[in-house]
C-alpha cells in the first residue's frame, strides 16, 4: 500500500487544476457557511446577554392619555407585574423619524456602543446603524423642535434590535428611522403634546408561559377598555418585531443555509464520484493486476478514497480557518448593518463547525465508498478486460436521423450521461442561488412601483378626534385580524370605510353590503369573491363577518374597503363617525389632533429598505453560485475530455482538424450546458415560487412574486459566459492532445 500511495501525490500534482478548484470552492463555501453560523451564534449570544441585562419588557401598551398612578398600582397588583412609563415622542423631520425616549434606566435599558448616555439637556444618543447610514458622528449636532442636540453616543436598544418604526411594518428601517435617548431635562424641551403614552410591563414571576402571557395581555386590554381608557395598541414581546425579529430571522436562515450546504455537498460528492469512476475506468488494467496480485477490495477502496477525502479535509480545515478569521467580519458587517446589537463577542459554534466539517467528509465517503464497494467486487478478469461497466453490454440507442456530427455529439452525451446529470444538478443549483439573489431587488422594486402607480392617497391623516375640514374626503378605519390560511398566524388588516363617491377608489361599488379586499388578503386567506370572511377584534372577543364582493387596487398591503355607512353599521358607530381624511395634498392639521399620518412614501419605504437589506447578501450569493458554476463545469467537462483524449488523438490521426475535434467534444458540453440552463428555468421558477411564498407568507404585507424577463436572460448569459471562460481552457487542452498518444496506448 505504501508504494501504491506514492502515486496519490503525483496524481494530486498532475491534476492540480481539478483538485485545486474543488479545494477553492470548498474553502469559499465552507468558509461562508461556517462564518455565517459562527457570527449567527455570537450575535444570538450577544443578543441574549444584552436582553438579560437590559430588563426587556414582557409586553407594552399604548394609550391616548396618561394613566393615573393609582390605576397603575391596581394593574400591577392585579396582574402581578411592574409597569413602567416608557413615553416617547416621534419627531419627524423631512423624511426622518426620531423616536425619542426619556432616560431609560429601569426597563429596556440602552447599551452604549460608543460615547456615553446623555446627561445634559442638550445631549442625545442615537441608534448606531442609523448614524452609520446617515454619516452622523459623535459630537455632531442635530436640531429637534428648534433645539440643538449634541450626539453624545451611539446606542443599541434591546427592544429595537430590529428597527421597526411600526410593529406591522414589512421591513426594518435603518435609514429614515432612529430611536434616541435624551435626559429627563432634554425630554422636557420637546413638544409634550406629541407624547405617545407607552407603558412597558415586566411580569414579577419569571418563566410565565407564552400562552399565559398572551391571556394576560388580552385580559389587560379588556380591563383598560372597561376603564374607558382608549387603547391604541397592546403587544406581547413575542409579537414585538423589534424584540423577536432578529432571533426569528436568524432561526429561519439556519435551516435554509443548512439545506443549501447539504445540496452543495451532495453535488461535490457526485463530482468526486464522476472523477473516481473515470479513474477506475482508465486504470482498470492496473486494478485488475492488483486484485489478481492479492490486494483486497478494501485496500483499493482506501486507496481511491484517500485523495477525495484529503482534498475535502483541506477544504474543510482552510474553510473553517478562513471562516473564523476574516470571513466572520463579512457576516458581522452584514448583521451589524441590519441589526442594532451590542458589541459582539465571538463564540465558536462547535456543533456547526462539526456539521460543516463532518458532513462533506461523511457524504464523500458514503457516496464514493458505495460505488467503489460495488465496482471493486468485480472479478480481476473483468478489470483486465476493461469491462467495468455495470451493464456488461452497452445498449444500442437508435439516434434521430440527423447529420453524422450531431449523432457523434449525441453519442458523447450518452457516453457521459452520469457527468452531465451531475453537471445539470450543479447548473440548476447555481442558477437557483443566482436567481434567488438577483430576484429580490426587482421584486421589491416592483412592490414600490405598484404602490407609486396605485390610487393610494398621498396622505392619510388619522385623527385623535373628529375635526371638520372642507372638501377633503373622509374615511373610517379599524384594525382587525384574520387567520392566515397557510401559517395559521393572526394577521392584521386595515378596514376602511369610504365615501360613496370616493375620488380615490372610484372602482369600489359602495352600494353593496360587502367587502372589497386587496389581492394580498385573498391570497393569504385562500378566499375568492363570493366567499365570506371573518375578522377578529385584536383585544376583544368580537367577530365580524363580511361577504367578499370584489378585489380592490391596494397593492402590497392587507386592506379591505366597505362604504362608510356600512362601516358605521357594522362596527356600531354613529352615522357621522369618521377616523380621518384622504388627501393628495398636505393638510394643515395640528399635531395634537392627529394620531398618525400615513404617506404613500411610508408604504413604499418598506420596499426600499428591503432592497438595501437584501442587496448586501446578493454579492455573496452571486460569488458562491458563480464559483459552483465554474468549478462544476470545469471539472465535469474536463472529465469528458480526459475520458475521450485517446479518441481525440485518433481523430487527429485520421485528419480531423483541432476545430473539428473541438466541435464534437466541446459542442456536446455546450449543448448540455445550454439545455441545462434552459430546462432549469421553469423548475427554478416553480422552486422560487415555493421559497418566496414561504418567505413572504408571514409578512404583514403582500409582495407579488414576479421574475422579470431580463433575469432569465441574465442567468442564461452568466451561464454561457462561465462556459466560454472554461471553454478557453479546454480549447488549449484539446489542441495539445498529441497524435502519438494513440500510438503509445496499445493495450
Amino acid at each position: 500500500m505504501k508504494a501504491l500511495n506514492k502515486r496519490l501525490k503525483r496524481d494530486f500534482k498532475e491534476n492540480i487544476g481539478r483538485y485545486g478548484s474543488i479545494i477553492i470552492l470548498l474553502i469559499v463555501v465552507i468558509g461562508l457557511i461556517s462564518a455565517f453560523f459562527t457570527v449567527g451564534n455570537s450575535a444570538k449570544h450577544t443578543y441574549q446577554t444584552t436582553k438579560a441585562k437590559s430588563n426587556v419588557e414582557d409586553g407594552q401598551f399604548i394609550v391616548e392619555e396618561a394613566i393615573e398612578d393609582s390605576f397603575i398600582q391596581t394593574l400591577e397588583d392585579d396582574y402581578n407585574m411592574t409597569l413602567y412609563q416608557d413615553y416617547y415622542i416621534d419627531y419627524i423631520k423631512d423624511t426622518i423619524t426620531y423616536r425619542i425616549y426619556n432616560t431609560r434606566d429601569q426597563v429596556n435599558k440602552a447599551t452604549i456602543y460608543q460615547g456615553y448616555l446623555p446627561s445634559k439637556d442638550n445631549e442625545i444618543a442615537l441608534d448606531r446603524i442609523f448614524c452609520m447610514n446617515q454619516g452622523l458622528a459623535i459630537n455632531d449636532i442635530i436640531t429637534i423642535n428648534n433645539q440643538d442636540f449634541i450626539i453624545s453616543g451611539f446606542v443599541a436598544l434591546s427592544d429595537y434590535s430590529s428597527l421597526f418604526k411600526n410593529n406591522t411594518d414589512l421591513m426594518m428601517d435603518t435609514h429614515t428611522f432612529s430611536v434616541a435617548i435624551v435626559s429627563d431635562a432634554g425630554f422636557k424641551l420637546l413638544n409634550q403634546e406629541t407624547i405617545t403614552y407607552k407603558y412597558s410591563y415586566v411580569f414579577n414571576q419569571d418563566n410565565l408561559s407564552e400562552k399565559k402571557q398572551r391571556e394576560t395581555a388580552s385580559d389587560l386590554a379588556t380591563t383598560l377598555y372597561k376603564q374607558g381608557i382608549t387603547l391604541s395598541s397592546i403587544l406581547v414581546s413575542f409579537d414585538n418585531q423589534g424584540i423577536v425579529f432578529f432571533i426569528e430571522d436568524m432561526g429561519s436562515d439556519v435551516p435554509m443555509m443548512m439545506a443549501l450546504y447539504g445540496i452543495f455537498v451532495v453535488i461535490i460528492g457526485f463530482v468526486f464520484s464522476i472523477i473516481i469512476r473515470s479513474t477506475v475506468e482508465s486504470e482498470a488494467n492496473m486494478i485488475g493486476t492488483l486484485l489478481a496480485s492479492g490486494y483486497s477490495k478494501f485496500q483499493l477502496m482506501e486507496h481511491y478514497l484517500t485523495l477525495p477525502v484529503f482534498v475535502t479535509c483541506i477544504g474543510v480545515i482552510f474553510g473553517n480557518i478562513c471562516a473564523n478569521t476574516f470571513m466572520i467580519d463579512v457576516f458581522r458587517t452584514v448583521y451589524y448593518s441590519a441589526y442594532s446589537l451590542a458589541p459582539m463577542q465571538f463564540h465558536l459554534n462547535y456543533v456547526m463547525v462539526a456539521f460543516t466539517s463532518l458532513l462533506p467528509i461523511g457524504l464523500i465517503v458514503i457516496i464514493n465508498g458505495g460505488y467503489l464497494f460495488r465496482v471493486l467486487g468485480m472479478t480481476p478478469l473483468r478489470f483486465l478486460r476493461k469491462d467495468v461497466r455495470k451493464h456488461k453490454k452497452r445498449k444500442y440507442r437508435k439516434l434521430p436521423n440527423v447529420s453524422f456530427m450531431n449523432r457523434f455529439r449525441l453519442r458523447v452525451i450518452i457516453q457521459n450521461k452520469a457527468s452531465f446529470i451531475v453537471l445539470f444538478a450543479g447548473i440548476f443549483f447555481a442558477s437557483f442561488l443566482l436567481m434567488f439573489s438577483l430576484a429580490l431587488t426587482p421584486m421589491f422594486r416592483n412592490f414600490i412601483d405598484e404602490i407609486n402607480k396605485s390610487s393610494i392617497p398621498n396622505y392619510q391623516y388619522i385623527l385623535k378626534k373628529p375635526i371638520e375640514y372642507q372638501q377633503v374626503e373622509k374615511f373610517n378605519l379599524v384594525s382587525l385580524e384574520f387567520d392566515n390560511y397557510y401559517t395559521s398566524d393572526m394577521m392584521e388588516i386595515s378596514i376602511y370605510g369610504i365615501e360613496n363617491d370616493s375620488s380615490f377608489y372610484p372602482e369600489i361599488d359602495t352600494t353593496k353590503d360587502g367587502i372589497y379586499l386587496s389581492e394580498g388578503v385573498l391570497k393569504k386567506t385562500n378566499k375568492k369573491i363570493g366567499d365570506s370572511i371573518t375578522f377578529y377584534h385584536p383585544y376583544l372577543e368580537n367577530k365580524y363577518q363580511f361577504e367578499i364582493v370584489g378585489i380592490c387596487d391596494y397593492p402590497s398591503s392587507l386592506v379591505g374597503f366597505i362604504s362608510r355607512e356600512y362601516f358605521n353599521r357594522s362596527f356600531d358607530k354613529s352615522e357621522d363617525y369618521f377616523s380621518g381624511y384622504f388627501s393628495d395634498q398636505k393638510l394643515d392639521i395640528d399635531e395634537k389632533d392627529r394620531s398618525t399620518v400615513i404617506t404613500k412614501e411610508d408604504v413604499a419605504a418598506a420596499g426600499q429598505q428591503a432592497i438595501s437589506t437584501f442587496s448586501q447578501m446578493t454579492p455573496l450569493l452571486m460569488i458562491a453560485s458563480i464559483l459552483v458554476y465554474l468549478v462544476v463545469l470545469f471539472i465535469l467537462s474536463k472529465v469528458v475530455i480526459d475520458r475521450n483524449a485517446l479518441n481525440m488523438s485518433y481523430l487527429k490521426i485520421f485528419g480531423y482538424t483541432n476545430k473539428e475535434v473541438r466541435n464534437v467534444y466541446l459542442t456536446s458540453t455546450l449543448l448540455v450546458v445550454a439545455l441545462s440552463l434552459f430546462i432549469s428555468l421553469p423548475f427554478i421558477y416553480v422552486g422560487l415560487i415555493c421559497v418566496f411564498e414561504f418567505v413572504f407568507m408571514g409578512l404583514n404585507s403582500y409582495i407579488k412574486f414576479n421574475l422579470p424577463m431580463y433575469l432569465y436572460i441574465e442567468i442564461v448569459a452568466i451561464g454561457f459566459v462561465t462556459y466560454f471562460v472554461i471553454n478557453l481552457l479546454h480549447v488549449r487542452r484539446i489542441n495539445k492532445i498529441d497524435m502519438n498518444d494513440a500510438l503509445k496506448d496499445r493495450e
Binding site: Y396, K398, I414, L651
Partner: protein, 232 residues
C-alpha cells in the same frame, strides 16, 4: 500515386542520447501495390510507417507522394494529406468506443468528399449485421474489419496497416488478410503492412526487410500467394 522515399533519416533524443532510428532509407512503392515491411522489434518499421502517415516528423531525406513533398508541407498541409490521401489500420483497432460499427466508419466518411457507399462497404466487410453494435460487443476480427472499413471508406490513395493481425488468432488473421487483398483488388489502393509475420510477405507485391533502421532487403514478388492459402 507512387510513394517515393529517399535518404530518410530519423533521430530520437538529443546530444549523447541521440539515436538514429532510420538510416538513410530509400525505397519506392507503386500505386496499387501491397507492400509488406518486415523486421524485428526496434528495426524502425513502425517509425517509417508513422513518417509516411505524417504522424512523426523526420530530420533528413524526402518522402514524396506523387509529386508532393511531405517535408515541404505545412502542419495544415500534413493534416490535409492525412485527411485526403491516407487510411490507418492499427494492431489494437483504435475504434471510438462510444460509436457503433457504422458510426466508426462514418468518422472517416465525414472527411471525404466522395466516400464509398457505407452500406455496400459494410456488406463487403461482412459487418452489415453488426452495424449497430458497439466495439465492446464485437470479436477482435470484427473490430479489425471495422477499422479496415473506416480506413477504406475515404477510398484513400494509401492504407497504412500497423500489425493488422498482431492481436488476432490464426483463423481471423487469415480472414483479415484476405479482406485486405480483396480490397486491394477491388479498390486498387496502395497498402503498406508492417508486420512481424514472415508468412504475410507472400501475399505482397513488394517486400522490404528492415534491421536497425536500414533496409537490408527489398524485392518484388514474382508470384503471390492468396491470403487464404498463407500458412504460419
Amino acid at each position: 500515386m507512387d510513394l517515393k522515399i529517399s535518404k530518410l533519416s530519423k533521430f530520437y533524443g538529443e546530444d549523447e542520447n541521440r539515436v538514429e532510428v532510420l538510416k538513410k532509407v530509400t525505397c519506392e512503392v507503386k500505386e496499387g501495390e501491397i507492400c509488406v515491411l518486415l523486421g524485428p522489434s526496434g528495426s524502425g518499421k513502425s517509425t517509417l510507417l508513422n513518417i509516411i502517415g505524417g504522424i512523426e516528423v523526420f530530420e533528413e531525406g524526402e518522402v514524396m507522394l506523387g509529386n508532393r513533398s511531405l517535408h515541404q508541407m505545412s502542419k495544415k498541409g500534413i493534416d490535409n494529406y492525412r485527411r485526403n490521401h491516407l487510411g490507418f489500420v492499427f494492431q489494437f483497432y483504435n475504434l471510438v468506443s462510444n460509436l457503433t460499427v457504422k458510426e466508426n466508419i462514418e468518422v472517416c466518411a465525414y472527411l471525404s468528399k466522395k466516400p464509398l457507399d457505407i452500406t455496400d462497404l459494410l456488406k463487403t466487410l461482412g459487418l452489415y449485421e453488426h452495424k449497430d453494435k458497439f466495439p465492446n460487443q464485437l470479436s477482435g476480427g470484427q473490430q479489425q474489419r471495422t477499422a479496415i472499413g473506416r480506413a477504406l471508406v475515404k477510398n484513400p490513395d494509401i492504407i497504412l496497416c500497423d500489425e493488422p493481425t498482431g492481436a488476432l488468432d490464426y483463423k481471423t488473421s487469415k480472414e483479415i488478410l484476405h479482406l485486405i487483398q480483396t480490397i486491394n483488388n477491388k479498390y486498387h489502393n496502395t497498402i503498406i503492412i508492417v508486420t512481424h509475420n514472415q508468412a504475410i510477405k507472400e501475399m505482397a507485391h513488394r517486400v522490404m526487410r528492415l534491421r536497425d533502421g536500414a533496409i537490408i532487403e527489398s524485392y518484388q514478388n514474382t508470384t503471390r500467394i492468396a491470403a487464404e492459402e498463407l500458412e504460419w
